[in-house]
Symmetry: C2
Subunit: 226 residues, 2 copies
Amino acid sequence: MPDPSAPPRRRASGASAAEARELLRAAILGGEYLPGERLVEAQLCERFGVSRFNIRTAIQELAADGLVEVQRNKGAQVRKVSLDEAVEITEVRMVLEGLVAAKAAILVTDEQASELDEIGLLMRRAVAAGEFRRYSDLNQRLHALIRTIAGHRTADGIIETLRGQLVRHQFMLSLHPGRPLVSLPQHERIIEAIRERDPKAAESAMRDHIASVIEALRGIDTPGLR
Amino acid sequence: MPDPSAPPRRRASGASAAEARELLRAAILGGEYLPGERLVEAQLCERFGVSRFNIRTAIQELAADGLVEVQRNKGAQVRKVSLDEAVEITEVRMVLEGLVAAKAAILVTDEQASELDEIGLLMRRAVAAGEFRRYSDLNQRLHALIRTIAGHRTADGIIETLRGQLVRHQFMLSLHPGRPLVSLPQHERIIEAIRERDPKAAESAMRDHIASVIEALRGIDTPGLR
DNA sequence: GTCGGCCGGATTGTTGACAATCGTGTCAGA
DNA sequence: TCTGACACGATTGTCAACAATCCGGCCGAC
């Protein structure tokens, strides 16, 4: 409700702060700016065709999201998350998604249960066909659906923020061969627990799942890789 | 390391963005601006003797902390957290502090264990003497110490942010008669579990404790008070 | 050759003024 | 009296210029 009009009214040249923020966020998440790289305001102005004021606002907002780090009088740089930090972030995600899964198990409707089941089916097919990219998408869809079912805005917001901070690590993980074979049965357990409306089992299954993600993170991460 | 010098060098008139932020945060947490109240930039400029630019920056940062809400072209207002939101926030705190307690149980040193024990002793004394205010302080000190022991910066930051959003609710809760008698044994269980270096027990104890806080929240909150 | 101070370019922090927008009170018309 | 549009005041959004700061290299002295 805060952004009513979409198409036809903007000043001819330049974009607003919100647009600049999304542009910059996409550029960082897309890997166009590497961790540790300096974000020079003037350069970004030219790159995006936005005034320096708006770039500044955008940087501040992304700093609040933990995507960039600003040092006074030294400017902003893409935040570099160490492996330890990635583990910490995923630990937090573990307990939060566990909470969310438990809530989802309580609130799930029959229709949503079917949706969960369908995702599970598609996942099995994707793994059987070796379509890792597709499986990765389904993975995100599953977690997103569970959060929707739970309707826990506070946890949802935090999880989403944290997810942004680890796109790089996540990305590497999803490409690791053999991962799907480990995570598929975990996902099935989560789905089953929610469908049976068993909060404790759902939380436990979700935590086990993300705990194994943490283990994988610890073993796989190769810093310096794009 | 970002703020080296403390006393003797600032421009004569006016303060910087960071100072403005802390001033405004203190004013809000102190109840000088009620939830829902509009924060007019010009007024704040005069109140704090800060330029509008810095006020703007401060408001943005507090918005990131969830203390204020900004609506485009409509300005900022102190965020009003409903009872449901307070419950959600406390649920998140429950799982996060549970995680932190488990970590603390693993990492605690002998010296820190003694410190925990001492806080427990002081708590028992405070309750016995009916010193609720003192007990409330000890409560905060206990939770803070546990977070220090765990050294989990990610969880710590989020918990601290969430705490700020509910100072009002927390405050009311700590004054509720009978609360200490309920929470004291819970605190003792947490301390004992950490001292015995039992992560699962520590997490469980912490979650039970905060779960009871949630129950109390649901029963006690009287919106409109204070 | 090396250390310390200094100077210049580059970059960020800040300011004040201007433009866009919203809410509200007013006034004409039915 | 009620409804609607209009215009005004108040408030926020944006900009371009200026000031403060930092980082690098250069130069001189020891």
